[in-house]
C-alpha cells in the first residue's frame, strides 16, 4: 500500500510547465450531487487540455461531512500546497471568508460554487438560484392542491445557507400566491443524514399525518427520509410531495406517483463552469461575477424530455472512471 501511495504522491508532483492546478472543494463527498460536480470539473479540465492548457483537478472534501472547521482546514492545506486556484462550495457564507481571503493574500484566487460566500475577495459565484428553486416547489404544490389545504415543511439543517434560501423561497411564494394554504409545521429539521431525516419524518407524520395534504423537503437527504417514512406507513402517494435534487430512488418514486415533483439543479454544469471560470480568470480573461446554472422542476409529465434526462443522468462514468 505504502509503495502505491508513494507512487501516487510522485505522480502528482511531476507536473508539466504552463499548467494549472485547481483545487475543487465540495461540501461533502458521498452524495451523487457532488459526484456530478466532480465529473463536470473533470470535463472542463479535459476540454481545456484539449485546447492546450494543462489543468489538473484536485478533488477534496471535508473529512467529516458538513463540518465547517474541517472544510476550512482543507482550504488552508491547499493554500499551503500552493495550488493555482480554488473552486469552493462553502459550507457557510461567513465561516469560509477568512481562509478564502488568506488564499487571496497568498495569491490564490477562488471561485465559489453552489452556495454563496459573503466576500468580495472572490472571482465569481457559479450556482443555482436556490430561492427560485423554492418558489418553483411552492408553485407546484400550490397548483396540485388547487390553492387550499394543509402543508408541511421539513427543513434540512440549522445554518445551511442554500437550503435556507429554498425554504424561504418556498414559504414566501406560498404565502403570497396561495394564502389559503396553511403551513402547519415549518420548524422541524431533518438533520444531516437520511436516517435522522427518516426519524424526524416518522414522528412528524405520526403527529400531523392525518391532517396534511402536501409536503416539501428542501434537499436530497430530507426528501429521501420523508419518502421512506411515507412508504413505511403506506401513505406514499396519498399526499402531494415535492422534493429537491434527484437520485435513482427519488426518480423511481416520481415514476410510481409517490413524488409529485422534484426541483433539480444542474451540478454537472456547476462543476464545469466553476473550473472553466477559474481557468479563464487565471489566463487573464474577463469573467462575470454571477453565473446561474439553472434549476428545473421535473414531474412525471416532463420526465422523459431530453432536457430532463440530460439533467438527471450526467455522464458521470465517462469522467469519474
Amino acid at each position: 500500500l505504502v509503495l502505491a501511495l508513494v507512487a501516487f504522491g510522485c505522480g502528482r508532483s511531476g507536473r508539466a510547465t504552463k499548467s494549472y492546478r485547481v483545487a475543487v472543494i465540495p461540501k461533502g463527498t458521498s452524495h451523487e450531487f457532488w459526484k456530478s460536480i466532480h465529473a463536470g470539473a473533470l470535463k472542463a479540465a479535459r476540454e481545456l487540455s484539449g485546447e492546450g492548457v494543462q489543468v489538473t483537478v484536485d478533488w477534496k472534501g471535508p473529512l467529516r461531512e458538513d463540518d465547517r472547521e474541517q472544510q476550512i482546514q482543507v482550504v488552508e492545506n491547499f493554500i499551503s500546497q500552493g495550488v493555482d486556484g480554488i473552486v469552493l462550495a462553502p459550507l457557510d457564507d461567513r465561516a469560509l471568508v477568512r481562509p478564502v481571503e488568506e488564499a487571496r493574500r497568498a495569491g490564490i484566487p477562488t471561485v465559489i460554487i453552489d452556495s454563496a460566500l459573503a466576500s468580495e475577495a472572490i472571482v465569481s459565484f457559479v450556482a443555482t438560484d436556490n430561492f427560485k428553486g423554492g418558489e418553483l416547489a411552492a408553485e407546484r404544490l400550490g397548483s396540485l392542491l388547487q390553492g387550499k389545504g394543509k402543508v408541511l415543511l421539513l427543513r434540512y439543517q440549522e445554518g445551511s445557507a442554500s437550503t435556507h434560501e429554498r425554504e424561504e423561497g418556498f414559504i414566501k411564494r406560498l404565502k403570497e400566491r396561495y394564502p389559503a394554504i396553511e403551513l402547519i409545521s415549518s420548524d422541524q429539521y431533518a438533520g444531516p443524514t437520511r436516517d435522522t431525516a427518516k426519524r424526524a419524518a416518522e414522528n412528524l407524520l405520526n403527529r400531523y399525518g392525518e391532517q396534511i395534504q402536501g409536503i416539501f423537503c428542501p434537499n436530497e437527504s430530507s426528501t429521501a427520509g420523508m419518502l421512506l417514512a411515507l412508504q413505511d406507513i403506506g401513505k406514499a402517494g396519498h399526499v402531494f410531495f415535492v422534493g429537491f435534487d434527484a437520485t435513482e430512488s427519488l426518480i423511481e418514486a416520481l415514476r410510481n406517483k409517490q413524488l409529485h415533483g422534484l426541483v433539480v439543479q444542474n451540478p454537472f454544469n456547476m462543476g464545469y463552469l466553476g473550473v472553466r471560470t477559474m481557468v479563464r480568470y487565471l489566463r487573464g480573461e474577463p469573467v462575470e461575477k454571477r453565473i446561474d446554472t439553472g434549476v428545473m422542476l421535473i414531474t412525471l409529465e416532463n420526465l422523459s424530455t431530453a432536457e430532463a434526462q440530460a439533467l438527471l443522468h450526467p455522464p458521470l462514468d465517462e469522467y469519474l472512471r
Partner: protein, 343 residues
C-alpha cells in the same frame, strides 16, 4: 468508602433487594428497579402531551420500537464489552460498514440470507480485529476502537465508492420496517429478532460459564487471570461476539434506509454506550445487564420521539433530552439507596 459503596450495585441477584427503607418500598423498588427511569420518561410525556392517547397509541409504540431496534441490538453487544471492562467506540462505523457490505451483496445479486450473513460476519470480523489489537498489541480499548472508528468508516466509503448503495426489493427491506406487511406481526420482524436475541444473551451472561467469566474479567482482571482464565482469548471472544451484533445492527440500519450508506450512524456509539450506562452498567466493568440496556435504549428512543411529538423546536428537544438523560440516571439511583445512605 466509595470502594464499598460501588459494590452495592452488584452482578448478583442480591443487588436489587439490598435497599433500605420500609419493606414495601424495598419490594416495589426491587420489582420496578430497572424500569424507574423508563416509567419516569413515559409519565413526563403522557402528562405533557396534548393527547396522551395518541402518544401511547400502539401506532406510536411501533414507531418507537422501530427507532429503538438498531440502538438496542447494538446495546446488546456493547453490554458484553462494558461488562467485561472494555469499551467500543467503533460501533457507528461498524454499522455503516456492515450495512454497505450487505447492500453490496444484495446488489451483486446474492441470496438475501447470504448477504445478511455476510454483513453480520463482517461485524464479527471487525470485533475480532479490535480484540486482537487490544490483547496482542496491548493497546487500551479506547484507543484501539477509536482507531477502528476511523478505519472502518474509511473502508465503508471505499467499498461503497463514496456513494450510497441502493438495493433491490427483498425481504431484507422488511426487516426493520415500522409497520410490517403482515399485520398480525404487529412489530417488525427485526424487533422480534432483537427481543429474542436479548433474551438469549441475557441468559448466557447470567447463567453460562462463559458469561460468569466475562463478569469476573470485568470486575478484576488480575484475579481472573490468577484463576486460570485465558483472559486474552476471552476478551477477543467478547469483542468478536459483540461485533456480530453490531453487524446485525448494520443490516437493520441498511434495511431501514433501503440502501447502504457509508456516512450513516456517525456518533451512534455514544447513543449505544449511553443506553448501556443508563441501563445501570458500570464503565469500570463487572456490572450491567441486558435487560437494563434494553430499557436504556428504549428510554433514549422514547425521549427523542416524545420531544418530537410535542412539536417542540429541535433545540428545545436537545435541551430536554440532555436534562432527562441526567434525571433518568438520578431516578435510577433510587435503586441503590444504600449508596446515598452511606457517605
Amino acid at each position: 468508602m466509595e470502594e464499598r459503596d460501588e459494590i452495592s450495585v452488584v452482578a448478583s441477584e442480591e443487588a436489587l433487594t439490598r435497599v433500605s427503607g420500609p419493606s414495601w418500598v424495598r419490594l416495589w423498588l426491587g420489582r420496578v428497579g430497572p424500569f424507574l427511569g423508563l416509567i419516569f420518561v413515559l409519565l413526563v410525556f403522557t402528562l405533557l402531551s396534548a393527547d396522551p392517547a395518541q402518544y401511547l397509541s400502539p401506532r406510536n409504540l411501533r414507531i418507537v420500537a422501530a427507532q429503538t431496534v438498531i440502538i438496542a441490538v447494538g446495546a446488546i453487544g456493547m453490554t458484553l464489552i462494558i461488562v467485561s471492562g472494555g469499551i467500543d467506540l467503533s460501533v457507528g462505523s461498524a454499522i455503516a460498514l456492515t450495512g454497505v457490505v450487505t447492500a453490496l451483496g444484495l446488489r451483486a445479486g446474492w441470496a438475501p440470507s447470504v448477504a445478511v450473513l455476510a454483513g453480520v460476519l463482517a461485524g464479527g470480523l471487525i470485533g475480532v480485529i479490535n480484540g486482537l489489537v487490544i490483547t496482542r498489541l496491548r493497546v487500551i480499548p479506547f484507543i484501539a476502537t477509536l482507531g477502528m472508528l476511523g478505519a472502518a468508516r474509511g473502508i465503508a466509503k471505499w467499498l461503497a465508492a463514496q456513494q450510497t448503495v441502493n438495493v433491490p426489493e427483498t425481504w431484507v427491506n422488511e426487516l426493520a420496517v415500522t409497520f410490517p406487511a403482515r399485520r398480525w406481526m404487529f412489530f417488525a420482524p427485526g424487533v422480534w429478532l432483537a427481543l429474542a436475541l436479548a433474551a438469549i444473551v441475557a441468559a448466557i451472561l447470567r447463567n453460562s460459564v462463559w458469561g460468569r467469566r466475562v463478569f469476573a474479567l470485568g470486575s478484576n482482571e488480575a484475579a481472573a487471570r490468577a484463576c486460570g482464565i485465558d483472559v486474552e482469548n476471552l476478551k477477543t471472544s467478547v469483542y468478536g461476539l459483540a461485533g456480530l451484533f453490531f453487524g446485525l445492527a448494520g443490516v437493520m440500519q441498511m434495511s431501514r434506509l433501503r440502501q447502504g450508506d457509508p456516512t450513516v450512524a456517525v456518533g451512534t456509539e455514544l447513543d449505544v454506550i449511553a443506553a448501556v450506562v443508563i441501563g445501570g452498567a458500570s464503565l469500570s466493568g463487572g456490572e450491567g445487564s441486558i435487560l437494563g440496556s434494553m430499557v436504556g435504549a428504549l428510554i433514549m428512543a422514547l425521549l427523542r420521539n416524545g420531544c418530537q411529538q410535542m412539536g417542540w423546536p429541535n433545540y428545545v428537544q436537545e435541551i430536554i433530552i440532555g436534562a432527562i438523560i441526567v434525571l433518568a440516571a438520578v431516578v435510577d439511583r433510587l435503586r441503590h439507596v444504600r449508596r446515598l445512605a452511606e457517605t
